[in-house]
């Protein structure tokens, strides 16, 4: 017990400041600014791997570490789409996952946001479209923000989430 407490005490708070939202990541406007601002105060995210290689998931996991400290912004991952405000979707959408992704989207209550993560989520990436993949996430459900990278850096993923919930500068 003392060892555990000693470890916690000796490391202290190491969380870093959040990255700036980046309007360049925005691909579409589906929500009014007022709603975005409300969601931003306590955002619940449902992550959906629609067929990724698991590389993006590793960097999404990193958001929870003490450096990026996602929960420090009032943002948390939830276990059901019915509790979620935002879907964080990775992968080229595997055709075997297409129905599950659509159902997850439908099960998420309005108003909702979708952030596509990674080169595959943005464009289909190296996998493209084929008998097995439907390509980018936007081919299957509406996407608000897309964050490229293979995999994207955690601070870029965080910037993408913050972009989605922030009111557009132009209003």
């Amino acid at each position: 017990m003392w060892k555990t407490l000693g470890k916690i005490g000796s490391i202290g708070v190491i969380s870093e400041p959040a990255p700036e939202p980046d309007d360049a990541l925005r691909v579409a406007e589906h929500l009014q600014d007022e709603i975005r601002v409300l969601l931003g105060r306590a955002l619940c995210i449902r992550q959906v791997d629609a067929g990724s290689c698991n590389g993006c998931e590793l960097e999404i996991h990193a958001l929870g570490n003490p450096f990026y400290n996602l929960e420090g912004y009032g943002i948390k991952f939830v276990a059901s789409p019915r509790h979620a405000d935002l879907l964080l979707v990775t992968g080229p959408v595997a055709r075997n996952m297409e129905l599950a992704l659509r159902r997850t989207y439908d099960a998420t209550p309005d108003p909702k946001l979708v952030v596509a993560i990674g080169d595959c989520g943005c464009t289909g990436g190296i996998f493209g479209e084929s008998y097995a993949t439907a390509g980018r996430v936007a081919n299957v459900i509406p996407v608000d923000v897309a964050v490229p990278g293979c995999p994207p850096h955690p601070s870029r993923i965080l910037a993408g989430i913050l972009t989605a919930i922030r009111a557009t500068r132009s209003g």
């Binding site: 996991h61 595997a94 075997n96």
Partner: protein, 492 residues
Amino acid sequence: MRRLATTLEDWQSTLSDVAATGARLLALWTERAPAAVHAAFLCDGAALVVDLELDYGEMTYPGLSDLFPAATRMQRAAADLTGVSALDADTRPWLRHSAWPREYKPLAPRSIDYAGDGVPPPDDYAFVRVSGDGVHEIPVGPVHAGIIEPGHFRFSIVGEKVLKLEERLGYAHKGIERLFARTKLDEGHRLAARVSGDSAVAFSWAYCQALEGLARCEVPERAVWLRALALEAERIANHLGDLGALGNDAGFAFGLAQFSRLKELWLRALDAAVAQRYLNDFIVPGGVARNARDDLLKRLSDAARTIGNEAATLRSIYDEHAGVSDRFVGAGAVAPDLAARLGLIGLAGRASGQALDLRVDLPCAPYSELEPAKSGRDEGDVAARVEVRFDELTESLRLVREIVERLPPGELWAELPQVEEGARGIGLVEGWRGPVLVALTAGPDGYVRRCHPHDPSWQNWPVLEHAIIGNIVPDFPLINKSFNLSYSGHDL
């Protein structure tokens, strides 16, 4: 690498002989034009591929599942992709759900680019039913409750006790093997690195090994050592992540906070040394893509030492924590004799008395010089898989420091000689999860004809179904995490 050509007459007797030596099934794949079956084994301390070429018009062969139970799903997947089918009892589709018709075989020659036909309907898979008083089912997935890859688990339970778990995988199937056949040989390493993102180094190295083998390319010494550095770096990152997640799944959030902090420190040290947090595309045909400056490598080595010291403290905290031990010890146990019979392999195998590590038992350069220590336990429970991870983390951190110390100077890359059409190569690398195999055949004009990347998760997923029997449902996330098998690497 030995290859043994068989005919339909001596196929089964050859396999019986192979099985009698206590061989391990490494992979099974099929191809068309001509129709053929290939099974790779680790047999008497060497890799062996048994090839069976079928007569014209012949599309079936006697299966291996009586001798090697792990072959069942590989055979079903192969039948979905090429139509070359085993005569074993279980003929349910595996990778094919409802997205493309049964007649469509993506790896058949001259098959069309099937583009799909609307949203695929729900898939009615024939799960094995368990009946009896009070027995009911819990379906889980394919969208899971955490940040996890997609897959479906069907639990048949009484109260909280699991009577049977049946897995349904294939949700992350991306058509990788068909894509390979449209990829140039000298670009295939990029696709290989994306078979399973957490094993990018292992797959790209295995692919390059196969290609360099068939092209007779000599990789410069410095590049070989840097490849080993990358592979150990990948093992360290994954083990740090898993050790934190396992603590968390046992209700000890402190473990997740600490290990995720160490993992981030490690990724940042890698980023500083080689300008990448995850080393996909670091290994390229003929060598490595980038050099690393000596002073930055020295810092990486220092980070390895610091992380090693901190991990040792955390290990003692895990060991002394009664609540953590209570969850770890005895959960999801796979006894060594069951592990041997089912062909459990890699890290999970080593925790169940299957002392096999290619870095030690079949070392490629530079492991023959590095002589890594092999870790092993016999208990086969979650605690044993945690112990093996701690041992291997410590050893990999030591290996990184030794590699940095001994890294030879020289070229990073060698030109790939002209490749002959039809040349075949095998790459075999001990990834963090276990042996990763890539079987490669060259096609015309510098393209891949056939490439089968094989993750050890194929062998280990069926064993997880046994590990959970008799445990309670709430322990499943912990037991599953202790195996941490790949979905994408398996679904292809």
